[in-house]
Subunit: 131 residues, 2 copies
Amino acid sequence: MEKIPILRMGPFLLVTIQVDLYDRLAENLEADLVQMVSKTGAMGVLIDISAVSIIDSFMGRIIGNIASMSKIMDAATVVVGMQPAVAITLIELGLPLKGVQCALNVERGMDLLRSKIALNEGTPDDYSDTE
Amino acid sequence: MEKIPILRMGPFLLVTIQVDLYDRLAENLEADLVQMVSKTGAMGVLIDISAVSIIDSFMGRIIGNIASMSKIMDAATVVVGMQPAVAITLIELGLPLKGVQCALNVERGMDLLRSKIALNEGTPDDYSDTE
């Protein structure tokens, strides 16, 4: 199976990573996700990595890339379901996932995204937002 | 990766199948799912098979098993995201997935589950949270 499915749930997209990402699969995921954000007007992307028990610098970089791309496309990214061992490995690898917010599970991730959207919509945007 | 993650979303559980199911993985999934239904008091199970492009009689049977188990545990099962080729194959294999409801995508599947719950209970938001 050559594709990681991207599920639409209301204003959010959900990606569950269950397989080891290799170059082409990761590239496809990035391309698909950016297109889905554009097509659906999604306001947030949830990346579930609860099935990931081993993480390397490549996968850490891909997650960072996805978050950066989504940000440019005006969608926030939240990584959910990280296993404790993965968190330890990421820090030991020197990959603190800067700019990526994390939540314990999908429900908390959705709450976080909802509160971010509410925050953004509540602030007046008559002055330039350089974020 | 030896486990298929089961995500909790409100009163529902979401399972995304991205890898080929072999015996032990399928058994683990069945056991995990039944336990999760019991633990969370979930009222519905969504099985997303949008990443499944090839289906065989084994996988068809597993999906049927999961639906039957969930039913006994008082949770409805909806299969979502089936690819057209998979639907053709299932019928040609003589596996019409009896007792399993299908929906085009996750959102429609959730709507279907919500309407089923509303039908059964009268109120859609009245689900017990036993976490």
